[in-house]
Amino acid sequence: MTWTDHRWIPSVEDVTATIERGAATAPVSSPKSAPPAKRPSSRKPGGFLASSNGKKAVMAVTGVVMVLFLVGHMLGNLKIFLGRDSFNEYAHALRTLLEPLAPYRTLLTIVEVVLAASVVLHLWAAISLARRARKARPVKYVTKKSQASGYTTHIMRFGGVTILLFLVWHLLDLTFGVVNPKGSGSAPADRMIAGFDASRWWVTLIYVVAVVMVGLHLRHGIWSAFQTLGWANRTRYRALKGAAALVSAVLVIGFLAPPLAITFGAVK
C-alpha cells in the first residue's frame, strides 16, 4: 500500500487484495436483526431418546445384548447332544449359579429382566422409528425400485414381528410348558424332546422358519449396530458384514441342530 497525505493510492494488486479481504471481513449482520428461519415443525428437539439417532442407539445396544444372549442360549441347547442328564444339569446350573452367595435363580432372574427390558426397548425404538419413517413419506411412489444390494434390509420390520410372535410361542412351549405335551412340571430335556417329536413336525417347521428369520434379521442387524454406534468405516465394512453373516449362520445352524435331530430321531 502507498500512503500520500493520508490518501491511499491503490495499485492493481492492492485493489485485488482489498476485494478479497473485504469479502472475508464483510460486516455480518447480527443474529437479532436477521432471525433464523423458523422451523416449519412445531416439534422442539427433545432429549437423546427423542432423537432418531438416540432411538437407533437404543436399538443397537439392546440388539447387541440379545445377540450375546442368543450365543449363550445356542451353546446351552447343544448340550442336548450330550444326553438328557447333561441338558437337565445345565438347566439346573443356570438356576443355582452364584449359590450360595446369592439366592436360587438370582443370575437367571437378572438375565430375564435385562432381556425383557431389551425386547421392550428394541420394540419401542423400532415402532417409533417406523412411525417416523411413515410420516416422512406420506405420498408413496407409483414405481419404486431398490438399488441397494441385499434383501435382508427390507425384511427387518416384518422379520422382527415374526420373531416376536415366535417368541411368544417359544416361551409357552418350552419355558412355561403350556403348549408342550409334557406340561410345565417336567424336566427341561423331556419337554424339549417331546416338543420336537416327529408327530409334532409342524412345531419343528415353525422353529425352522423362525430361526431362519432370526438369521436374516441378524445378517443386517449385527453390522448395522456397529454402524449405528459409529464404529464402522469403509475399511471395516467387509469384516463387519462378513462377521455378521458368519455369526448369523452359526446361530441358525446351532439353533436348528437340536430340533431337527430330535424330529428325525437322532436324539431320543
Binding site: 478479497e20 479481504r21 472475508a24 471481513t25 433464523p36 428461519a37 422451523r39 416449519p40 415443525s41 416439534r43 422442539k44 428437539p45 437423546f48 427423542a50 432423537s51 432418531s52 439417532n53 438416540g54 432411538k55 437407533k56 442407539a57 422409528l129 417416523r132 419413517a133 410420516k135 416422512a136 413419506r137 406420506p138 405420498v139 408413496k140 411412489y141 407409483v142 414405481t143 419404486k144 425400485k145 431398490s146 438399488q147 441397494a148 444390494s149 441385499g150 434390509t153 427390507h154 427387518m156 443386517h220 453390522w223 448395522s224 456397529f226 454402524q227 449405528t228 454406534l229 459409529g230 464404529w231 464402522a232 468405516n233 469403509r234 465394512y237
Partner: protein
C-alpha cells in the same frame, strides 16, 4: 426413439396430483433426459398446454438442482449420474418411463416435479459451517491435514445437496446428506472446535424437519450422483453419540 412418459402432474401444493401419460416421438439418443423433457414441453406449450415444471440449473451435474425419480430410481438407474447427465441412449426405443418428484414430507411438491428443499438449507444453517477468525487469509500450508483425511473430507464435500438420498431412502431419512456435511467438516482441523455441537445441532434440525431415521439400508449411497459413501453416516453417528455423552 419413441417413448411413453408417465409423469406426475400437480398444479400446486394443494393439488392432489396424478400421473399423466405423454407420447414423445423422434427423441435423439444423444439428448439428455432434461432435453427430452424440453422437447415435450415445447410441444405442450405449442398445444396450449401447461409445460411440465422441473428444477434444473447448470445441466452439468454439479449444482444439485435437477432430480426426479425415473422408473422408481432417483436420478434414474445409471449410477453416479444426475438427471441432467443421464442420456436417452440408456433407454430403449418404445420404453415406458415413469417420472415422479422426490417423495418426502419435508420436501413438499411445489409443482409437478419441483419440490421445496429448503429443509436442507436449514440443516446447513444449524451447523454446517466453521467459525474462523476474521482477518487475512492464512497461508495454505499453515495447518497440516493428512492426505487420507483430506481425501475423505473431499469425498464427503462433493455432496451437491440434490436430495436423491432422501428420495431413495425407504425411511425418508436425510442422514446421508447431513452425514456428508458433518464428515466433510469433522475430518478437517478447521472443523474441530464445533465438531460435537455441529453434529448435535444438525441431527436435531434433521429430526425437526420431519425426516425419518436411518436403518442402514444403503439405498441412499446407491443412488447418490456423487457416490457419497455410507461410512459418513457412521461418522455422524459417532459424533452425535459423543456430543450426547458430554
Amino acid at each position: 426413439m419413441n417413448l411413453t412418459l408417465k409423469v406426475w402432474r400437480q398444479s400446486g401444493p394443494s393439488d392432489s396430483g396424478r400421473m399423466v401419460t405423454y407420447r414423445v416421438e423422434d427423441v435423439s439418443p444423444d439428448m439428455s433426459f432434461l432435453e427430452m423433457l424440453d422437447v415435450l414441453n415445447e410441444r405442450l406449450i405449442l398445444e396450449g398446454d401447461d409445460p411440465i415444471a422441473f428444477d434444473h440449473d447448470c445441466r452439468e451435474g454439479i449444482c444439485g438442482m435437477c432430480g426426479m425419480v425415473i422408473n422408481g430410481v432417483a436420478h434414474g438407474e445409471q449410477r453416479a449420474t444426475t438427471t441432467c447427465q443421464l442420456h436417452m441412449r440408456h433407454f430403449e426405443d418404445g420404453a415406458v418411463i415413469t417420472i415422479e418428484p422426490w417423495r418426502a414430507a419435508p420436501f413438499p411438491v411445489v409443482k409437478d416435479l419441483v419440490v421445496d428443499r429448503s429443509a436442507f438449507d436449514r440443516i446447513i444453517q444449524a451447523g454446517g459451517f466453521v467459525s474462523v477468525p476474521a482477518g487475512s487469509a492464512p497461508d495454505a500450508h499453515s495447518v497440516p491435514v493428512r492426505k487420507e483425511d483430506a481425501d475423505a473430507a473431499f469425498d464427503a464435500a462433493t455432496c451437491i445437496g440434490c436430495g436423491a438420498c432422501v428420495a431413495a431412502c425407504p425411511n425418508g431419512s436425510a442422514s446421508l446428506f447431513t452425514a456428508a456435511k458433518i464428515t466433510h467438516l469433522s475430518l478437517l482441523p478447521q472443523g474441530q472446535p464445533e465438531r460435537l455441537s455441529r453434529a448435535k445441532a444438525m441431527v436435531d434440525q434433521m429430526d425437526a424437519e420431519g425426516f425419518g431415521g436411518c436403518t442402514n439400508t444403503g439405498e441412499c449411497t446407491a443412488v447418490c450422483p456423487k457416490g457419497i459413501p455410507l461410512d459418513t453416516i457412521a461418522q455422524l453417528n459417532s459424533d452425535y453419540l459423543k456430543a450426547n455423552a458430554k
